[in-house]
Amino acid sequence: MTDQQLKNKIKTEEYFINMGPQHPAAHGVLRLILTIDGEIIKNVEPDLGYIHRSIEKMCERDSYQQIVHLTDRMDYLSSHINNVAVCLAVEKGLEIEVSDRVKVIRTIIDELTRIASHCLWWGVMGMDLGALTSYFYAFRDREMINDIFEETCGARLTMNYNVPGGLMFDIHPNFVKRTKDFIAEFKTKIPEYNLLLTDNVIFHKRTKGVGILTREDAISFGVSGPTARGSGFSSDVRKHHPYNAYDRVDFKEILFTEGDTFARYQVRMMELWESISIIEQLIDNIPEGETKAATKAVIKLPKGEFYQRVETARGELGVYINSTGNKNPYRVKFRSPGFSNLSVLNHISKDVKIADLVATMASFDFVIPDIDR
């Protein structure tokens, strides 16, 4: 019997299956409603709301200093970058120029956060594809960054180190030494990462040509960050709209044109080197200066709209503040990278196997609280 005769004889029909909300490959409570025919995915419908905490609404209740700590809980892997985004938006409204010292320290910690986030992503990407070893190696190295944060900021993940106008307090005396030690050690670890996972032939077979996102789709769906740069869409906010001290450092924007899972993987691995290079350029000459510009105890933004965009580890985060002149904002909106990146998932996952969807999702690096807020 030929395949066609077999198909005519056996009737197949599509059915639904829930992936999540507690699926190990989703890294959080994301529910994907899959329409599948056998093992072929016909439709992916993300269902959100399982970790909605109404952060945007809570921002309308809080003062501008209090908003900052809520953004820690959105994209918890790049919490410092979220804090900086809110602080920059408020500083824009107040027309404060922070000192060079604050700018440089913010940039260094931003990049450390990016390395920590990419480390964790590398670990769980391997784990999603069945290579548990990478998870332990990534967490070992991430631990050193967490120690730096713990010593300087007081917390490992939800740091809340920024206040509108500068930093909450100065860096710890050990900060520079610890960061240099980490950079020296981490440089020897990335080649290990490549030996363990990047060069592996099974990994290539799972990722190359899987989940191809074209440049046109990336632009039309609003995809940003390493996901978009894997498709050749130059979208780095640090390069195109520099904030903090990014205009005074020299770094490359990593671009790959393949658009598949392996290209997105390579973008993030190369970004580790770029982050190291940025930190190395800044760590030796942190300028002296005040760590906090003088602000009033009750911050009141002038009437108007303020928008600030930053590049988190996952893409472009936009903070929109609409103020009526009170001590609370009238409306706060976060343009989170995860939400836009998720929207393209259905488009690129048609007619692939379920295991390929897992690989694609891993390369998108979703953080669900960031999608849901």
């Binding site: 007081g154 363990l196 032939v201």
Partner: protein
């Protein structure tokens, strides 16, 4: 033919990866181990800035630095701090002065943002480094920070 070269490549990359893990297995260097937390409890020292919980330090004669200005209560984003205060007559000047009765701290609601400690004008509250806060009953996490019978140190004004 590609079938055999695939097998060869697969085994080669497997051995490449195992050379890394095997290297760590043979030379189990210092630093390849994580902290063994419950076993090193005696020697474990957290960083000075580590945010464990908010405490109010008292001197030996049961005096604290809190004037009851409520800056921390206003700064707190989620109402973790409540201050019950009163006005007491100062015996020297005869003027009425604010004084705290109870400084209530809900550790169960605290997000460790540190805004209260930043807001305090007299450094009356500080971070403590103990992090083993698990209890069986949530009401045990509501703490009164000022000790019974304590009073504010002389010369502290907000």
């Amino acid at each position: 033919m590609s079938y055999f070269s695939d097998i060869y490549k697969g085994i080669k990359t497997l051995l490449t990866g195992m050379s890394v893990t095997g290297g760590y297995f043979i030379h189990a260097r210092k630093g390849a181990l994580t902290q063994e937390y419950p076993d090193n409890r005696e020697t474990l020292k957290m960083f000075d800035r580590f945010r464990g919980e908010v405490v109010m330090p008292h001197t030996a004669d049961n005096r604290h630095r809190c004037t009851g200005c409520q800056s921390c209560e206003i700064a707190c984003p989620n109402g973790s701090i409540e201050i019950i205060w009163d006005r007491a007559v100062d015996p020297e000047t005869g003027k009425k002065k604010k004084k705290i009765d109870k400084h209530i701290y809900h550790l169960s609601m605290c997000t460790m943002c540190g805004l209260c400690i930043e807001a305090c004008p007299t450094d009356a509250i500080v971070w403590a480094q103990n992090f083993e806060n698990s209890v069986y009953d949530r009401s045990k996490l509501t703490k009164i920070l000022n000790q019974p019978g304590s009073s504010v140190l002389d010369g502290i004004e907000d």
